[in-house]
């Protein structure tokens, strides 16, 4: 409300920043392509080296698109959770939602082949991985939600999230012990996190899941705003608690679970981005915050991916490590500077 214009300027600025980050991301990689050639290729011309066209359109373009989906979606799920749990430290990673997704993925990648006794992956389509990870994250989210109803204590919730992380890694260790080297390697690579190597079909599926999560979030805007006052106040404003809680949980589960399935567990984006966004947008109105955190998250993810790419070298760092290196100091900085984290 307070001057819609100020937000408009911030949004224009963020959109421009997104464009810059996207161009930077597309123009950097293991093969060095001059910026002018990147631009001309993007505008449909054929570059002097034929392989550049392939690299840009078939590798870097989908990768940048995945980064945008992953960054935007994870940040949105973080925002939803912070509002739902009335907790500034809530996020898909901290509350064990990503661990749940990991568990789902691990059970599928390593467990099923154990039970079935063969290592063929032919039947393990992308859809089943997405479903397994989503179910895993959804289950953890439900358990955390039930616990949150009984335990009002913020710390208890976070500790429960940590415990889920431990349980997951324990089960994963057990699975790994019995698993074949090949399957184990698949899981380990998945757990490093990656926004590359997604086929068009996988990308479409991920896009669909994120879109569904965004739509559910938009439907929930009004109840999300009411939840800022607390559940009793929300109820007195006519919000149906059960229905809106479920909608928000499903949205979060889809976003965090779906993204984790395709890109691996990516830390800190969901926790840090909503806080960073609130530094720019001085409002708690979710109508403004939802697009803002998505833009901010997409920018951050593109930049992290650009860093992970190690310019002009063939090595790619695990994206999970980069987001942690960027995200953890941000959280510490927020805590030290503001003394108190608020949402």
């Amino acid at each position: 409300m307070q001057g819609a214009k100020t937000y408009r300027i911030s949004f224009v600025f963020l959109t421009l920043a997104l464009l810059c980050a996207w161009l930077l991301n597309i123009s950097s990689g293991s093969v060095s392509i001059p910026f002018a050639d990147v631009l001309s290729t993007l505008f449909g011309e054929t570059p002097e080296t034929a392989s550049w066209e392939y690299i840009i359109w078939d590798y870097r373009f989908p990768k940048a698109f995945t980064s945008i989906l992953v960054g935007g979606g994870l940040s949105l799920s973080g925002l939803l959770m912070q509002t739902l749990f009335r907790n500034p430290l809530a996020g898909p990673f901290v509350l064990g939602i990503s661990s749940g997704a990991s568990l789902g993925a691990a059970l599928l990648l390593m467990g099923v082949s154990l039970l079935a006794g063969y290592t063929s992956f032919s039947f393990l389509g992308d859809v089943s991985l997405a479903i397994a990870a989503s179910i895993g994250s959804f289950l953890v989210l439900l358990i955390v939600m039930i616990v949150a109803q009984r335990v009002k204590d913020t710390m208890a919730l976070l500790i429960i999230g940590l415990m889920f992380g431990s349980i997951t890694s324990a089960i994963v260790s057990v699975l790994a012990y019995f698993s074949s080297a090949e399957n184990l390697q698949r899981f380990i690579f998945w757990s490093f996190g990656s926004v590359g190597n997604l086929s068009v079909n996988q990308l479409l599926l991920l896009g669909g899941i994120v879109a569904l999560g965004v739509i559910l979030s938009i439907i929930s805007i009004k109840s999300l705003n009411a939840f800022l006052l607390g559940e009793n106040y929300a109820q007195s404003l006519g919000v149906s608690l059960k229905k809106s809680r479920l909608t928000i949980i499903v949205a979060t589960g889809l976003l965090a679970g779906g993204i984790t399935a395709f890109a691996g567990p990516i830390a800190f984006v969901g926790l840090a981005v909503p806080h960073l966004t609130r530094q720019i947008f001085n409002t708690m109105e979710h109508k403004v915050l939802i697009p803002a955190v998505m833009l901010y998250g997409a920018i951050l993810m593109l930049l992290c991916d650009t860093l992970a790419q190690l310019p002009n070298s063939a090595s790619v760092l695990p994206i999970n490590a980069i987001t942690s290196l960027v995200g953890a100091p941000v959280v510490i900085w927020l805590l030290v500077r503001k003394r108190k984290m608020m949402f």
Binding site: Q2, I219, K222, G230, S236, M284, M342
Partner: protein, 259 residues
């Protein structure tokens, strides 16, 4: 049996509490439009439970609660949000909200699915800001406010919700005498000028006697209800506390420590 009269709330033979334990029973009172009513009683006698029951947060055990011409339980939550607003003892979950944003949330029952504020909504928000002297604080965050200011904001939000009945749970706790009187005076004005019916729990019995149109005393027995002067005459306040500790002075309407 529909009840048709000028009463906004009428409560008959109400019993409140939890399944395993009745906290208070035989509660009877009626409030007309524009009345300010205080609920007093010692700690643990069921003031908050009464408020939670009236607010629809917890089911009653027995008796009847009429809100306007309908039983309280018959209301859907969205209809109820247009007839009844609350100010609770709990703090808003997010202290990062600005004063104006928080008050605007009071308009939720009337806005569309996206919560877009119409001209009518904005007028109502301005009126609430104005009535509770919050115009200068509108862009302040809640964590920057003093206890007295925050309380005013929460009441202003309830006013913006524009309901016929407003329930407040201990609106004067943590405030100094000046701010206690200020908030109660504002409630009185809201009740008398805007024709709202207001029911609040409080420990400020002396202030309640001076400002309220009606008082409900929860004493664990008959729960007397009526005009403050009438209640003084009937010596109901004398029995509120053990007389060897505190005594009520009917002339001044105040309590004295027993010597």
């Amino acid at each position: 049996m529909a009840k048709v009269d000028k009463n906004i709330v009428s409560v008959t033979d109400l019993a409140i509490g939890y399944e395993s334990k009745t906290i208070a029973e035989r509660i009877n009172f009626e409030l007309e439009t524009g009345m300010l009513c205080g609920v007093v009683g010692i700690n643990g006698i069921g003031k908050s439970t009464l408020l939670r029951t009236l607010g629809g947060f917890q089911p009653k055990l027995d008796g009847n609660i009429w809100l306007k011409d309908q039983n309280l339980e018959k209301y859907t939550s969205s209809d109820l949000s247009k007839e009844l607003s609350v100010v609770l003892t709990e703090q808003p979950a997010s202290k990062n909200l600005t004063v104006q944003e928080l008050i605007a949330l009071g308009r939720q029952p009337y806005t569309n699915w996206l919560g877009t504020l119409t001209k009518q909504d904005k007028l109502q928000i301005e009126a609430s800001l104005d009535a509770f002297l919050l115009k200068d604080l509108r862009y302040r965050k809640c964590h920057q406010l003093s206890d007295g200011q925050l309380q005013r904001v929460l009441v202003a939000r309830a006013m913006a919700q524009d309901t016929s009945l407003i329930l407040l749970d201990e609106p004067t706790t943590h405030l100094d005498l000046y701010h206690k009187v200020q908030i109660l005076k504002m409630l009185q004005e809201l009740a008398h000028n805007k024709q709202k019916t207001i029911l609040f729990t409080t420990h400020e019995i002396e202030l309640a006697i001076q400002l309220c149109d009606r008082i409900l005393i929860l004493d664990g027995k008959d729960n007397p209800f009526g005009d403050p002067c009438q209640l003084i005459e009937q010596k109901h306040f004398d029995r509120l506390f053990p007389s060897e500790m505190v005594q009520f002075d009917a002339k001044t309407g105040s309590f004295k420590v027993s010597k």
